[in-house]
Amino acid sequence: MVWRVADWFTLAAIFLLLTVAAALVRCWRGPGPVERIMAAQLAGTGVIGVAVVLGAARGDAAFLDAALIGTLLAAIAVTAFVRGTARPGDRSEDKE
């Protein structure tokens, strides 16, 4: 099989999926809520990377719109998370 550059991009997509899986191991282990959200964030960035790479491999610019939406909304879950319990007098949740 002759390796074209597009194939390398598909291979890169597979590699990125594996890094996402590695990040999710941290999400599984925790220990705290911040780690879990961080890992979800990294998984999101990995998925954006996959969308960019697949878009390049298939030459489809619409894939980049998916990546763009992903980056625009990437911070929203983190923003919702940090406001959740960071108020004085609220119970601490790091007993997990």
């Binding site: 597009a6 598909t10 491999a57 007098g89 609220d90 119970r91």
Partner: protein, 112 residues
């Protein structure tokens, strides 16, 4: 990227099978989980599985069927609307329960 036909067929079936397993996982979790928020997650996973079956069976060799795509987009939006309603109901139920308890733990009001 041009692919041999067999690969695309198997890919369509692969995603459809994943969808079938997702439906099973979600149903199992819906039955065995006790907390309503977790059951809400389970319903969403069942929905995602059904969407995946619908979409992937429309994956032809040169195009993806627009009908299931349109159905799935509609379904996704309805699912998020009902998830929002479910979550609001769960929170409201917890608030009512907390208010009904004697005022030993009175942090219910201020917490948004």
């Amino acid at each position: 990227m041009d692919l041999p036909l067999s690969d695309i067929l198997s890919a369509g079936h692969l995603y459809a099978l994943t969808g079938a397993v997702l439906v099973g996982l979600g149903l199992y979790a819906f039955i065995t989980q006790r907390h309503p928020l977790r059951q809400l997650l389970a319903v969403n996973v069942v929905g995602a599985g059904i969407f995946l079956i619908l979409g992937s069976l429309g994956r032809g060799p040169d195009a993806t069927d627009p009908f299931p795509q349109a159905l799935v987009i509609t379904g996704i939006v309805v699912a998020v609307a009902l998830t929002a309603f479910g979550a609001a109901m769960i929170v409201r139920q917890a608030e009512t329960r907390a208010a009904a308890k004697p005022a030993a733990d009175d942090n219910a009001r201020g917490a948004s």
